[in-house]
Structure formats: structure tokens, C-alpha cells
Amino acid sequence: MGSITLQALYPQLLIGLINGAAYALLSLGLSIIFGLLNVINFAHGALYMLGAFVTWGLLHYAGIPYWGALILAPLAVGAVGVVLERTLLHRLYRLDPLYNLLLTFGVALILQGLFQMKFGSSGEPYDIPAQLAASRDVGFMMLPVYRGWVLIVSLVVCLTTWYVTERTRLGSYLRAATENPGLVQAFGINVPRMITVTYGLGVAIAGLAGVLAAPTVNVSPEMGSELIIVVFAVVVIGGMGSIMGSIVTGFALGLVEGMTKVFYPPASNTVVFALMALVLLIRPAGLFGKAP
């Protein structure tokens, strides 16, 4: 690409921002889980994929359209998360976090493998809901309405989550339990239940990201595994456990990737890792993390 006019850059930036929304949603969930459970949830990508498949399945088997899936799919994924936490994860909290990383990695492999056996690798089509199928002129480009919708929903979910954890009483319990679970337990708060709920919530957000993605990328078993290590990098760059860090980094990465897609497209899947290595060398705790 020789000559890039500023006019041509605006659409790319907007698209980048929208892609960043998916990163923000996924890294947000990972970050919440890591903050409270100290678990690096490798299954996050697989649960995102599950969210997309539930969306497809609701329409395909039960005739429930997108709008129903928007509520039901995150709930279903959250429920799966609660089961996972209760049956598997909670056995390993006292050990090195490495073990939970490996456990969730195994869970991700199983989930992805099962869907592959059932649905094959090329995936299933899911149409954009009719109400959002048009395009709008936003001045410098024709933007599909659905993309705008994704951006808005993601922003609302991200900011709400941030508000709840940082500004409400519930959030302060959460943060206190991160610092000192024993003390919080002593105040009469059921910490194990809170942990379960948090995990469920974290993966429900991943499920929601899956619902949002279903109409734009084909619903396929591998859609999560391609994303998961990128999202890891986002969380690390933002600072492990920092919610605002994940949100800001998620959107920022979208922009950086968008620019890479214009100036050196082949590297657009790799640029995040270069950024991560760089950030870790300069600011070990990530951009928004507290020093370890």
C-alpha cells in the first residue's frame, strides 16, 4: 500500500476499535477471574466458542433468535463455568497457579475436540439479525449497523463491570477477598460462593463475546483457540488482574492491529506479542498493574 490518505485511515481505526471490543470483553473476564481466583483461565477461548455455538444451537434446534440468545447463551456458559469451578478448579486453589492453567488447558482441548467431532471444522453459518442488518453512513464510511451494535454493547458491559467492581459494596467485597480471603470470611461473607459466582460471571462475559461474534465470524470449534493467547497477551499488557487495564488495552490493541493491517498486514497477528514482550521488559507489572 503506497499512499494512505487520512480519509482512508478513519474507517480502519473505527474497525480496529470494534475488533478491540472483543478483546476487551474477553480479557475483562480473564482479568476478573485472575484477580480473585488467581487462576489463569485457559478455557476462556473455548467458552467463548461455546457461547457462539449455543447461540447457533438456540436458533437451529429451538428456533430462539439472536435476541433470546443474547441473554440465554451467557447464562448457559456461566452455568457451565459454575460447574467447572465446583467440580474441578476449586480442588487446586492451594497449589501453584500453574496447575490450574494446565487443568483449564485440558478442558479447552476437550471442549474444542468434542465440537470438532460433532460439527466438523468449517463451522456453521449464523445470520445477522434482520433489525441490525443494514449499513449506516457515518461520514467517512458505510458502517454495518451490527458492528456499531457490537461496539456499544461491549462498551456498556465493560464500563458496568468496572463500575461494579470498583465503586460498589459488592465490588469492595470482591477486592477485599482478593487481598485477604480469611478476613472477609470472618466478616460472614461466603467466600467460596463468591469465588464460584465470580468465575461464572467471568466466563459468562466470554459467552457474551461469543454471541456477539456469531453473526460476523463463522461459528467454528477453533474460533476460540486462535484468540486465547492474544487475549492472554492483552491481560498481561494491561496488568494481570487490573480490570481497567484489560479494557483499555483491549481497545488499544484493536487500534494497533488495525494500523498494522494497513501498513504491514502479515504481522497483524504477531504485533501483540511484540508489544507484550516490550511492555514486560519496561513495566514488569503491565501498563495498569501494581508492582509485584
Partner: protein
């Protein structure tokens, strides 16, 4: 991490000699029952896992980018053997050296960070390295370097015969394994373990942990490189699969299954995984599901791995 129980030196030696002798004997006889090329692949993976175990099991550093060293050495050796016409032993040495140099750079950057941050830096650098391999001309991208000649060992012994090749791979493996064993049980290895257990105390005793970690990292990278270079010579193809992050994940699985921090653990783990994959290859797409299930079961129930469990059962240091 799991710690192998310390046993008195007097007790350890005869047992470990026996273990070594039994392992060697089994590997020498193995081609009678198992196909030799499959065994070569297993041995290379086993050496790779042993090199990885040196870091995770004895220094407590989880590298999530070790495929980088396996693959880099593989490409280097393949290029040296095919384009420059080097003899196989020189090609492998060249591959090992390349992996060592890359290990020095990566290690120098990564060891300043601890825990998950260390893992993430290694992952990030490995992904960048993958990108480099895909773009570079000499690797031929995803077409791979094909038809790498096995050549003549020292210019004399023709390695085209599978059994001769197996003998050579076995020799390389045993040398690598012995080097790692010697390192672990040397005063240097004792310092490494001390760093894993308590870094601050080790520092106060006058050791510079960073030096020790860096040397261990370079050693591990170089040996992983030996494994990768040997594998490429034996299988005659150097491909992107050796540098992708899934391979870095696979080596964690092998080591975990065998037993973290057990010197024979990775060998057993690598054989277990390789044989599992091999026999599952003839089933229909079950590989990922079963591997995932194995992961879950071992993490939940057998965190000490096969060798850890066996060792406790027999009350022997294995």
C-alpha cells in the same frame, strides 16, 4: 512444584545406575518391538522434554516458548545439512549452537521476570520467532525444508539405514540425558534447586541467582536444540509445527505426565504422549479430546506424574 525427596548419596547411586542401565537396555532392544523411526521421534521428544524439565523442575521456571529452540535448531541443522552439505554431526552441533545463542538472548531478557511473567515473555518472543520463521526464505514457510539428507556420520557411516540412524539418535539422547543428569547432581544443580526453593536466601549466601538462571536457561535451550536438530536429521523434514506454540504446550504435557523435577520423568512422559498420539492417529479425530482428558486427570489426580507415583510406591528416587 513437586520436590523429589532427597535421598542419601550412598543410596542414590546404585539405584540410579541401575535405572540408567535398565533404560539403556530397554532402548537398545526397543527396535525389536517398536518401529525404529517412531522410536527416533520419541527419543528426540524425550530429550526435548528433559531439557525443558531442567528449567521447570529444577529452577522452577515455566518456559512457554521452548518450541522456539527445538524449531530454530531444526531449521539451522536442516539448512546446514541440505544447503551447505555438512555432515550430520556437524549439522546437529550447528543447530545446538544456534539454539544456544537464541537461548542466551531470550534468557537474558526473560530471567529478569518471575512466575507467569517469565512464561509470558517466553511466549511472546516465541511467537515473534514463529513469525520470523514463516517469513524467512530459507525455511520455505509452510512448505517446510523437505528431503533433508541424513548423510554420512563423520563422513563415513551411512545413516540411511533406519537401524544405524536409530543407534545414532540413541547415542545423542544418552549423551544429552547424561549431561542433564550430571548438571542436576552437581554443585551447580544444588544452587539451582536452592534458587527455586528460596531465591532471597540463595542471594544472601553470595550466589547471583540471575547468573545461575541464565546458564541453566542457555543449557536448556541448547539441549532442546540438540533434540530438534537430531529430529530433523532423522525425519528429514523441518517444518513450522516445530516452532508453533502448541508444541511448547505439548512439552509441558509430557513433562507433567512423566513427573516434574524427576530426571526420568520427561522420558516416560514423552514416550507416553508420543505412543498415545501414534495409536490415536488411526482413530477418528479423537486426539485432542483424549489429550485434554489426560491433562485433566493428571493435574487432578497424579500431579507427581507417572514416575513420581512409581517412585513413591517403590520408595526409590527415580
Amino acid at each position: 512444584m513437586t520436590t523429589a525427596p532427597s535421598t542419601s548419596r550412598a543410596r542414590r547411586w546404585p539405584v540410579e545406575y541401575t535405572v540408567f542401565a535398565v533404560m539403556t537396555a530397554l532402548l537398545v532392544l526397543a527396535p525389536l518391538v517398536v518401529y525404529s523411526v517412531t522410536l527416533m521421534q520419541c527419543l528426540c521428544l524425550a530429550l526435548f522434554a528433559c531439557a525443558f524439565n531442567l528449567l521447570i523442575g529444577y529452577v522452577g521456571l515455566l518456559s512457554f516458548g521452548h518450541a522456539m529452540f527445538l524449531g530454530a535448531a531444526g531449521y539451522a541443522a536442516a539448512h546446514a545439512a541440505k544447503v551447505w552439505g555438512l555432515t550430520p554431526e556437524l549439522a546437529i552441533l550447528f543447530g545446538t549452537a544456534c539454539a544456544g545463542v537464541i537461548g542466551l538472548v531470550v534468557g537474558w531478557l526473560a530471567i529478569r521476570r518471575q512466575g507467569i511473567y517469565f512464561s509470558m515473555i517466553t511466549l511472546g518472543l516465541a511467537q515473534m520467532f514463529f513469525f520470523f520463521c514463516k517469513q524467512a526464505d530459507f525455511t520455505h514457510g509452510e512448505d517446510s525444508i523437505q528431503a533433508v539428507p541424513r548423510g554420512h556420520l563423520f563422513g563415513l557411516i551411512n545413516l540411511d539405514n533406519d537401524l544405524v540412524m536409530y543407534g545414532f539418535v540413541l547415542l545423542v539422547f544418552l549423551i544429552g540425558f547424561s549431561v542433564i543428569y550430571r548438571v542436576i547432581h552437581s554443585p551447580f544443580g544444588a544452587v539451582l534447586t536452592a534458587i527455586r526453593e528460596n531465591e532471597t536466601r540463595t542471594t544472601s549466601l553470595g550466589y547471583n541467582p540471575d547468573h545461575y538462571k541464565l546458564i541453566a536457561f542457555v543449557l536448556s535451550a541448547a539441549l532442546a536444540g540438540t533434540a530438534g536438530a537430531t529430529k530433523v536429521i532423522a525425519l528429514q523434514v523441518a517444518s513450522l509445527t516445530d516452532v508453533e506454540w502448541q508444541t511448547s504446550g505439548a512439552v509441558v504435557l509430557m513433562t507433567l505426565i512423566g513427573g516434574l523435577g524427576r530426571y526420568t520423568g520427561p522420558v516416560v512422559g514423552a514416550f507416553f504422549v508420543a505412543i498415545l498420539e501414534h495409536y490415536l492417529a488411526e482413530t477418528r479425530g479423537l486426539v485432542p479430546v483424549i489429550e485434554g482428558a489426560v491433562f485433566v486427570v493428571f493435574v487432578l489426580l497424579f500431579r507427581q506424574g507417572l514416575i513420581g507415583g512409581l517412585s513413591n510406591l517403590l520408595k526409590l528416587p527415580l
